[in-house]
């Protein structure tokens, strides 16, 4: 087992991670993570760090949502340490952000803009969360990041 594979397995087994994954606010189940782990285990070495990032994203996203769902201003949500850690994962997680946005309508708009350098939302749709998500969905499809 190389380092990246080892870190992914360690992530899966860490008790606090399992707890976060099993909490209601985490958008991905342990089963899904394990199946992804098996998929990546048989793939190229270069994809294994990606698995670790994906796992980190889902765990951090769960923590962020749980801690900030009651906050009234997105600008405060964006200051949470878990959110800043998510940004530090870089553009590799953009597809995961898009998928979670479309599934939950949680506020990934700022993260998507920061990680892609793009802003597909016209000002007249600012605040209309469904429409904003729709603009990012179209962008994701154009970029072939979403099927």
């Amino acid at each position: 087992m190389n380092d990246s594979e080892g870190s992914a397995v360690a992530l899966l087994d860490a008790p606090d991670v399992v707890r976060a994954i099993e909490s209601q606010d985490v958008a991905i189940t342990r089963d899904t993570l394990e199946s992804k782990s098996k998929y990546f285990a048989g793939s190229e070495t270069s994809e294994k760090p990606m698995l670790a990032k994906l796992l980190q994203f889902h765990v951090l996203a769960g923590i962020w949502k749980q801690d900030t769902s009651m906050l009234s201003l997105s600008s405060e949500k964006y200051e949470h340490p878990a959110y800043l850690q998510i940004l530090s994962l870089g553009p590799d997680i953009v597809t995961a952000l898009l998928e979670d946005l479309l599934k939950t309508h949680d506020d990934w708009f700022d993260a998507l803009s920061r990680l892609t350098g793009e802003d597909p939302i016209p000002p007249q749709d600012y605040g209309f969360i469904s429409r904003m998500a729709g603009h990012w969905e179209l962008w994701g499809r154009r970029k072939r990041l979403l099927r």
Binding site: M70, S72, L73, S130
Partner: protein
């Protein structure tokens, strides 16, 4: 304080929208969100007050029930706005908790525990006269997100 959940979780709108009677969008003075005025340079209680003034609200002394008036309360910590609530005509208040649920609460000044830590205290009360003959809901009816009910006349 008696608190009752009155809706499901909905990230489509927040407390500042809900206090304005709008359950169709997220109100925030910045960050690609809806705001009825140009985004202010400083996000403070005065900026929130200015937004509600566009709907006809004026500052008032307290949250005491006044027949014929609709009131809102703006919560803040050190002049940083954290929350807003709206009063029904029976004196009960309604709040949207971030991207979570709507609640009803019988008092406005005493949120318990974590909620109080997050939202602080009421920094400003505002009121506006209800249109004559208007009969706003006494309690929050079950509503679908995006419905127009509770939206004040002339609101976006």
């Amino acid at each position: 304080m008696t608190i009752r959940n009155t809706s499901k979780k909905d990230p489509g709108y927040n407390c500042f929208a809900w206090a304005a009677g709008d359950d169709t969008k997220w109100w925030e003075p910045g960050g690609r969100k809806y705001w009825p005025l140009p985004y202010p340079r400083k996000v403070d209680v005065a900026a929130i007050e200015a937004a509600y003034a566009t709907l006809g609200y004026i500052a008032c002394a307290d949250g005491t029930l006044e027949p014929g008036f609709e009131k809102i309360a703006i919560f803040a910590i050190a002049d940083q706005p954290k929350h807003a609530a709206r009063q029904f005509q029976n004196g009960v208040w309604t709040s949207k908790l971030g991207s979570d649920e709507d609640i009803e609460h019988d008092r406005v000044a005493e949120f318990p525990g974590l909620v109080a830590i997050r939202y602080g205290r009421v920094a400003r009360f505002m009121k506006r006269a209800l249109p004559q003959g208007a009969s706003p809901p006494q309690v929050t009816p079950p509503h679908a997100p995006g419905s127009a009910q509770n939206r004040p006349p002339g609101s976006p």
